[in-house]
Point group: C2
Chain length 230, copies 2
Amino acid sequence: MLKVDPTLIKDLKAFSGLEMAELELMLGEAQSSYFAKGDAFFREGERATRFFVLLDGYLQVVRTTENGEQVIMRHFAPGEVFGIAPALQRETYPANAIAVADCVALHWPNKCWEDFASRVPRFLKNAHGAVGERLNASQDRIIEMATEQVERRVARAVVRLVNQAGKKTEHGIRIDIPVSRQDIAEMTGTTLHTVSRIFSAWASLGLVEVGRQKIEVLSAHKLVTIAEGH
Amino acid sequence: MLKVDPTLIKDLKAFSGLEMAELELMLGEAQSSYFAKGDAFFREGERATRFFVLLDGYLQVVRTTENGEQVIMRHFAPGEVFGIAPALQRETYPANAIAVADCVALHWPNKCWEDFASRVPRFLKNAHGAVGERLNASQDRIIEMATEQVERRVARAVVRLVNQAGKKTEHGIRIDIPVSRQDIAEMTGTTLHTVSRIFSAWASLGLVEVGRQKIEVLSAHKLVTIAEGH
DNA sequence: CGAGAAATTGAAAAGATTCAACTCTCGTGG
DNA sequence: CCACGAGAGTTGAATCTTTTCAATTTCTCG
């Protein structure tokens, strides 16, 4: 349980447009927790009791099929709300939320949701906006899976990772979280073998530099060309 | 513009749990319109000005890719809200909504949304619940596309159609809207040829009876077996 | 009855997966 | 400090699924 100052969080997406007084009200009810890499914020099917805002770190939302395959649904960066079952009238969490880097998150018991509905309406609006974006992103991904072949899907996944977790380096942009071939496969609906082959091909074109759980993009432009197919 | 009686709509999903007075209030602000088969309720990217509840008929939500391919995102049956951009802080409609049978829908200008927030809160809750279900359905479909092969995806699509538009017949269940091989292909991310081959195979197993834009399921049980893989 | 849309089907080709063997990297513990 | 073992990655070959191309056929509506 850490102390959090309103000025530190006022620019986060989840809190955008909130008054200082509203932030303080929300912080007054909040708990903040540390989650080590690999920890679960919550698990699929678990009774939803709280909702979260990620302050620092990085997390994955993952669903598992009956036969044990994993599908990475999306990633969250600092500033995003997640686990907002009450916004959707849900009783349970729909997926596993796993820290892929050490994380700090604020969270509130669900009863605060109704509270904030009247006292911090802007927060709810932001959250509903986030839901809309996610629904849209899901649909984009369905279209992608339905119409694009694997190399392009992989390129898009890498572009998204670069946008969400890219750090400039000497020669390009490095993805600042450990991502394995298997992870990319679970993000794109393919196998780690196919991802490995694609990466090898890209590397020999000088497009990326890859290593153990490491991806560095040397030519973002060419990668986008593959992703978007111009 | 048709007159609509509150008792006719009180059992629809979108209005579940509403008081008679609330229904009357909503109907007072509503307009009802007829949409012929093939008409668009709204189009992708269009400025969102109103939200809808389908009273009768059947509609498809379709998105088109840059290179002209269509993907059928979902179908709506009577009783469902759609085009609820204000619930998601959206300015535009995210997709095309096309009547696949003659339809009647209620609709309201967006400004009513804020109104209903305070005066018919239950309606908003229902709508948010619907959004949650749709987000979930989208994610299920992503998983399906990522992990299942075509035959199973087609089987699932047919099962969904049966659930949403199935009519009992002498020997089985007929899908009560015209659905072409191409339509199934756009629902499952494959080609009409592959769908045709799958249907032919199923037909020769006595599982379905298919024809021009016609699907009749003779053994729902076996179809579910293919869909779920038990 | 004719025209056009919808559907079927074979054959070839492409794309991706599966299987299997092997290599590399990194952290740990002797 | 080095060796070793496990996890991560690579790559060839065979195989499988699905698509693509092309030629026909069937159906339905006007």
